[in-house]
């Protein structure tokens, strides 16, 4: 039967319970009747299952059902076989004995086709969906305390590439669904980043776009919290991931990067349930880099100067005129300070969460109260979350249903002096020379003061309310309406003490507000003809309005460090006002969908959605999002119907398009200014800004996907396979094109870039042990291979370079190859001796290296890097760059194992990323520490180089050039970052977490009124296997740059408790 009903399965089971209970009165006792007591548990989690219906006899008659705590008491004839049945669980038979507590373990039904999914706001079984979707149970997300649930989704869904590349509490890593979807790069150097393309999150039916606001926390004021950090993982019932365009097309423009449906928990037990879960966890900073401390550092510097200066006399003179080296008994220079230790620390954190829920199909409710506290491993950073969410559903008559939810959350975080994702002050102060004194009232490092004494407090308050109505007008015809309002306010208060701000303390106050008003109303109709032809039609319209505005106030020169106000003494030092990043967007859409299936064997889905957005060009206001999907459940064919090894098997194919608005309204309409207040004929002037030509034809990005899928279940749940191949074309991407000066404008945003992703996703679930045994073991292995290819650039160009002005690590867009290519000098080793240095055969001079500005040239010698002279002119310069690696990973995925025996369970989750290039700027910085033995640019830390194979003497075959030749750092620049020497393979295999859980037997806890009590011990991020020589191959930017001032990823050790009353 086509399951179009909106009632969750377990609630439906409860309804049946009453029917059953009524029936039990009618059972006539003929044989001796015994009373059987027992508890029904879920196999695996050992949690009691409420609402399990117990049948007996032939034909089966219901005799009872389990209560909220899983207990049951039934009166049955002696020796009668009991049959336990519950939605979502496999049935189980068993004989009960009087006077004995019977323990029943039901296993979750291992048929993925029976899972309930939501596509385009419509509930379906997976059997009738034509798109590619994956469901993750909330149970998989409970055992590791995290500030953002995204961290735990890593490696759980094939094709969803999550890199937890920041350890900053409250921030999130990057999510890419099915490969690259953007070419937009901002910033330069190590902090250049790729525009985030996170999937759309639909939380209880209300879309929330995580791509706005928070990513700009990079270089801008504001709390910068990821909106998903405000959702407690304990409140999540399930997360459904929609991957292909058929599944996402009905979400329109915002679904182009995939959709994640987050469902929070609801009441489903007649008897109210109180659940508590709490964690106590310790965050452990990663191993800090080793540095040379104290006198050893001074000696290393002196020795370097004596050996690598042109003349010893000159070196002596240099040393003697540098008090930092010569004046070794001066207390200011006679230290061995552990600078890194000042900033990184172990922290002790906790979370608490209480859920009260209950109710039945007529009326149910839930309230969730959560507290999360995490102090960052970098001092002066933390994240606290306070949440209260409630929802309730009321169904006064069977045809009418109303659901309402209110979620309030408050996130409080401190970024220290950094911007959340990076901590440049910690980065700078942490690599200072150990000879300098540790900060006290006076500090030798302004950065250290900034990192430790900067007073930063951010609050993000979020209120989300929504109301759903559903009325069945006639049988099969539903009218539904959803209305939601969301408001987020972010404030940042920042105080910089006078000591680090030119003797003027500075107060900064930021606040922003965003509001989203959203409404969706629609009709859906279901009709089945002779139980063979099943038809569904639905139409809905969607309206949304979103605005954002931020203001900032900055005031220098408060009375003192201790008195931060009153503010407003002298306007000269003040700054502030409304920031120029305000937005006001409207979106109106209309969508329709039709679905037909024949006996649930052949399924056809069609859908269409038309969006009108206020930020697209004047001439192209509408975007259309069509989709087609087909499915063939071939296991229902007569040929295969009697194959016992085949549980299920189906083939899917789909095509669809998502269109996503891009750019800003100013790209489409231009900006106008007042010509600097100029006047003409005493009238104020105004005119268009010549910087950017408006593009009235600006089109939204179009994201077209083809998808083919195979789903197989074999040998009674032993092996389940899901495979998908896809081709995703991203077209009309925005790219700035420079215009000739004769046009009058300097540049225009065009729509002429395109790329495509082709990939294969796999997901295997294997249960090697028989289901009836005491041991229960499940292994899952999933992954995706994704290759992206750039297919088009503006003006028919074949190549385009994005120049990096800071590090010279340019990125190439080139048609026909992977979209983002690193462009670097090709390092093939080190010149072992002078004789091996390349020579120009015509002139006899050794190969030359050009200075950064191309005006000076230096001769190469032994110990210098062997860079490929690609054009054969015996001059190493920008023309010799090679197209090197790809910053985007080729293969990503996860591996997990769940082993259970009785009350004990062991859960191990791992994730892997393979074939990806990382630019190891962090290791480069270690060598670069030797560039300045005199400490002229502020003495830096020296890192022991024993583990690196560097050149030291004539004839050495080394990997790294001579690090001690400090004069060469200025001319040859052997340790420049833009070379393949620092491009490394960033493949890694990471154990995400290991959880050992024990469920305390109910008999011991019941006297306290506790129906279920589970304790667990979790270690997160314990091991990472990689050949990468830097600190952590995951802790790098989306463009594969290892920032040395990035926020390191912590390890945690957790002790947790789940209690249910």
């Amino acid at each position: 039967m086509y399951k179009h009903n909106i009632i969750p399965g377990k609630i439906k089971a409860l309804v049946s319970l009453f029917v059953v209970l009524l029936l039990t009165y009618a059972v006539a006792a003929q044989q001796p009747v015994i009373t059987v007591r027992g508890v029904v548990y879920e196999k695996g989690t050992n949690m009691p299952i409420p609402g399990v219906i117990i049948f007996t006899g032939k034909p089966p008659k219901g005799v009872g059902a389990s209560g909220a705590d899983g207990t049951f008491t039934v009166n049955v004839p002696e020796g009668a076989e009991l049959n336990f049945q519950a939605m979502g669980f496999g049935p189980l038979m068993g004989k009960g004995k009087a006077g004995e507590l019977m323990k029943v373990y039901l296993s979750v039904k291992q048929n993925k086709l029976n899972e309930q999914v939501v596509i385009g706001y419509q509930k379906k079984t997976k059997e009738t969906t034509t798109g590619s979707t994956v469901i993750i149970s909330g149970k998989d997300l409970q055992d590791v305390p995290v500030s953002n649930v995204i961290e735990l989704l890593q490696g759980k869904v094939a094709g969803m590439n999550i890199q937890n590349n920041t350890g900053a509490p409250g921030y999130a890593g990057t999510i890419q669904m099915r490969g690259l979807s953007t070419l937009s790069i901002s910033g330069s150097g190590s902090s250049s980043f790729l525009s985030p393309t996170s999937p759309l999150f639909v939380i209880d039916g209300v879309p929330i776009d995580p791509n706005t606001n928070y990513e700009y926390g990079f270089n801008q004021a504001g709390p910068g919290l990821n909106p998903l950090s405000l959702i407690p993982p304990e409140d999540i019932e399930s997360i459904q991931v929609l991957k292909d365009a058929q599944a996402t097309a009905l979400y329109g423009s915002r679904g182009a990067y995939g959709v994640m449906l987050v469902n929070t928990k609801r009441g489903k037990s007649k008897v109210p349930i109180v659940q508590y879960s709490g964690n106590f966890f310790i965050s452990i900073p990663p191993n800090l880099r080793k540095v040379i401390g104290g006198n050893a550092e001074r000696e290393a510097r002196v020795s370097q100067l004596l050996h690598y200066t042109d003349s010893v006399k000159y070196a002596r003179q240099d040393i003697n005129s540098t008090p930092f080296l010569a004046d070794s008994l001066n207390p200011y220079y006679n230290n061995s300070t552990n600078w890194q230790g000042l900033f990184y620390k172990y922290t002790y954190n906790q979370t608490h969460n209480v859920t009260v829920s209950g109710g039945d199909d007529r009326f149910n409710y839930k309230a969730n109260l959560g507290y999360y506290n995490e102090k960052g491993i970098v001092k002066n950073t933390d994240f606290n979350r306070y949440t209260l969410s409630t929802n309730m559903q009321y169904r006064p008559i069977t045809r009418f249903k109303i659901y309402a939810g209110i979620t309030t959350s408050l996130g409080q975080n401190s970024k220290g002096s950094g911007n959340g994702l990076t901590q440049s002050d910690v980065g700078k102060a942490g690599k200072q020379s150990s000879l300098l004194p540790a900060p006290s009232f006076y500090s030798s490092s302004a950065n250290a003061v900034a990192a430790l004494r900067n007073d930063n407090l951010n609050k993000t308050a979020n209120i989300r309310t929504n109301v759903d109505l559903d009325y069945e007008l006639i049988a099969g015809l539903h009218a539904t309406s959803t209305f939601s309002f969301e408001s987020t306010t972010g404030t940042e208060d920042n105080f910089i003490p006078a000591a680090i701000n030119g003797n003027y303390a500075q107060v900064k106050s930021f606040n922003d507000q965003s509001h989203t008003l959203y409404s969706r109303s629609g009709l859906s109709y279901f009709k089945s003809f002779e139980d063979k032809h099943n038809l569904t039609f639905s139409v809905f319209n969607e309206l949304s309005k979103k605005d954002y505005q931020a203001t900032l106030l900055r005031k220098s020169g408060t009375p003192s460090d201790d008195v931060h106000g009153p503010i407003g003494s002298n306007g000269f030092f003040d700054g502030g006002g409304i920031l120029d990043n305000g937005s006001d967007e409207r979106l109106a859409s209309f969508a329709g969908a039709a679905s037909y299936n024949y006996k649930q064997k052949y399924v056809v889905d069609l859908s269409f959605r038309r969006d009108a957005s206020s930020i697209t060009g004047k001439k192209t206001p509408y975007s259309n999002n069509p989709s087609v999907g087909l499915r063939w459940n071939f296991y229902k064919e007569a040929l295969l119907a009697d194959r016992s090894w085949l549980d299920y098997g189906s083939l899917r194919a789909s095509w669809g398009r998502n269109v996503i608005p891009q750019g800003t309204i100013f790209d489409a309409y231009g900006t106008y200014n007042d010509r600097n207040g100029g006047r003409y004929n005493d009238k104020p002037m105004s005119g268009i800004d010549y910087g950017k030509l408006p593009n009235a034809n600006m089109k939204p990005v179009s994201n077209t996907q083809w998808n083919g899928g195979l789903e197989l279940g074999l040998w009674k749940g032993k092996l389940q396979v899901e495979m998908d191949v896809y081709l995703k074309k991203v077209e009309n991407m925005l790219m700035e094109v420079k215009l000739p000066t004769s046009s009058g404008f300097s540049s225009v945003q065009t729509n002429d870039a395109a790329l495509m992703d082709a990939g294969l996703e796999w997901s295997f679930t294997y249960r090697p042990l028989p289901q009836t045994g005491k041991w229960n073991w499940t292994v899952t292995f999933n992954g995706a291979f994704n290759k992206d290819i750039l297919t088009r650039l503006p003006n028919g160009k074949r190549e385009l370079m994005v120049y990096d002005t800071t590090n010279n690590q340019n990125i190439l867009y080139r048609v026909g190859r992977n979209s983002l290519t690193n462009v670097l000098m090709n390092t093939r080793g080190v010149y072992a001796d002078d004789a091996s240095v390349q020579v120009d055969p015509a002139t006899g001079r050794p190969v030359l290296v050009s200075s950064a500005d191309g005006k000076n040239f230096y001769y190469m010698r032994a110990g210098d890097p062997l860079w490929t002279d690609r054009n054969g002119d015996y001059i190493i310069n920008g023309a010799d760059n090679v197209y090197a690696g790809n910053s985007q990973p080729l293969i990503t995925g996860g591996l997990s194992s769940f082993l259970q025996h009785g009350a004990w369970s062991l859960n191990i989750a791992a994730t892997y990323t393979a074939i990806r290039s990382i630019l190891n700027n962090a290791v480069q910085a270690r060598f670069a520490g030797y560039s300045d033995p005199l400490g002229k640019n502020g003495p830096g830390a020296l890192v022991p180089l024993d583990q690196y194979n560097y050149w030291a003497a004539q004839g050495d075959k080394a990997t790294y050039p001579n690090p001690y030749d400090y004069q060469g750092f200025k001319s040859i620049r052997p340790y420049r970052v833009d070379q393949t020497l620092f491009e490394e393979d960033g493949s890694y295999f990471k154990i995400q977490y290991i959880t050992l859980a024990y469920t305390i037997p109910r008999t011991r806890t019941i006297r306290w009124g506790i129906t279920s009590c589970r304790t667990y011990f979790t270690v997160s991020n314990p091991f990472l296997f990689s050949r990468y020589s830097g600190p952590n191959p995951e802790n790098v930017s989306a463009l594969g740059r290892d920032q040395e001032d990035g926020y390191p990823v912590r390890k945690t050790v957790t002790l947790g408790l789940n209690v249910q009353f």
């Binding site: 083809w706 026909g816 055969p841 030359l848 054009n871 054969g872 023309a879």
Partner: protein, 349 residues
């Protein structure tokens, strides 16, 4: 079991076909700009020297206009500029001396220098395959150069094909107008006509007091004469100083000259009352790189002769004569510094 395997194979094959049918991947080929071109199209190398065009590392004569590097360059259709007929000599290869190891200026014997050089076969005029630089080679036997037309002849025209995987482009009518050989530099011989004009003078003549006059010499008061016996086969360079009567001046009179450091030579300087002779390796300078013996760009050798005398007021005065020069042919060369109309005063006041 078997059937399931077959089924899986069919499904995978179907999936691959499905994806193949839709995927149209553009070719991963280079970009070549139609505007890519040389900014210098006429080349006037002096014959008898190995010349890199351009020899200045900062100069770039090919504007690739963002074409993907490396490009491949090829000289096509070398022809006489006036006749338009193909010229055979540029299609042949000749033995030339090339460097295989870098010259450092620290070599102590001629053998050490010769070990760094070797003989290879090259065309006389070549384009470097990927950089687009041109090289005019000096053949070991200079007789071969006789077949080459020198200015004032209009010389030769040629085309250059530039290509990469994105396509190719031909740059037409580039000009090669060789100049007549000049075995040494600076030279008083006009490179086009072969006429002699003017004198060669040192770049620096400073504090050289004129004998019996209260005046000092300037650059024009010293003439430098280069001389080689055409039959000589040695590798020496001799400096001579002559007064206005062309009588030799003892080089030891230049008493503050750092004789062992003025020139890259092998073995000690050999003094006679008339001259000082060095064992050297040709050409001078050996390579185009800056050493202690060259000027800043490494294109010429730099010699400095000096002497001290006590001038008026009991001050010590250092007289300097500095000369930048290059010699391209081996042999027993002689450089004469001729104080041709006034004599220098070596006496103390």
């Amino acid at each position: 079991m078997k059937k399931s395997n077959q089924l899986i194979i069919i499904l995978i094959a179907g999936g691959m076909m499905f994806s193949h049918a839709c995927v149209k991947v553009p070719a991963d080929v280079d970009f070549i700009s139609p505007k890519a071109s040389y900014s210098q199209t006429t080349f006037e190398p002096v014959l008898g020297r190995t010349t890199l065009l351009p020899d200045d590392p900062t100069a770039n004569i090919f504007n690739a206009d963002n074409s993907t590097s490396p490009l491949t360059f090829k000289i096509l259709h070398m022809r006489g500029a006036s006749t338009g007929e193909a010229v055979d000599i540029f299609n042949k290869t000749f033995p030339v001396q090339v460097w295989k190891e870098a010259y450092t200026g620290l070599e102590t014997t001629r053998e050490e220098v010769e070990k760094k050089r070797t003989i290879e076969q090259h065309h006389l005029f070549e384009v470097r395959e990927h950089s687009g630089q041109f090289v005019m080679w000096r053949p070991m036997d200079l007789q071969y150069l006789n077949a080459i037309k020198m200015q004032p002849d209009p010389g030769y025209k040629f085309d250059v094909e530039v290509s990469n995987s994105g396509g190719s482009k031909i740059i037409r009518d580039m000009e090669l107008k060789p100049m007549r050989p000049q075995p040494y530099a600076p030279s008083a011989i006009d490179p086009v006509t072969g006429n002699s004009q003017g004198n060669i003078t040192p770049y620096l003549v400073s504090s050289v007091k004129v004998y019996n006059e209260d005046n000092y010499m300037s650059n024009g008061d010293v003439i430098v004469v280069f001389h080689k016996d055409p039959a000589s086969t040695g590798n020496t360079l001799t400096f001579e100083f002559r007064d206005s009567a062309y009588n030799p001046i003892n080089p030891k009179l230049f008493n503050s000259t750092r004789w062992e450091d003025i020139l890259h030579h092998f073995g000690p300087a050999r003094f006679t009352p008339e001259a000082v002779t060095y064992d050297v390796a040709y050409p001078i300078p050996l390579a185009m790189r800056q050493t202690r013996y060259t000027n800043a760009s490494g294109t010429t050798a730099n010699v400095m002769f000096s002497y001290d005398r006590i001038a008026n007021g009991a001050l010590r005065m250092t007289a300097l004569i500095g000369m930048n020069f290059a010699i391209y042919e081996p042999g027993d060369w002689k450089m004469v510094f001729w104080f041709y109309h006034k004599n220098p005063d070596f006496r103390d006041n």
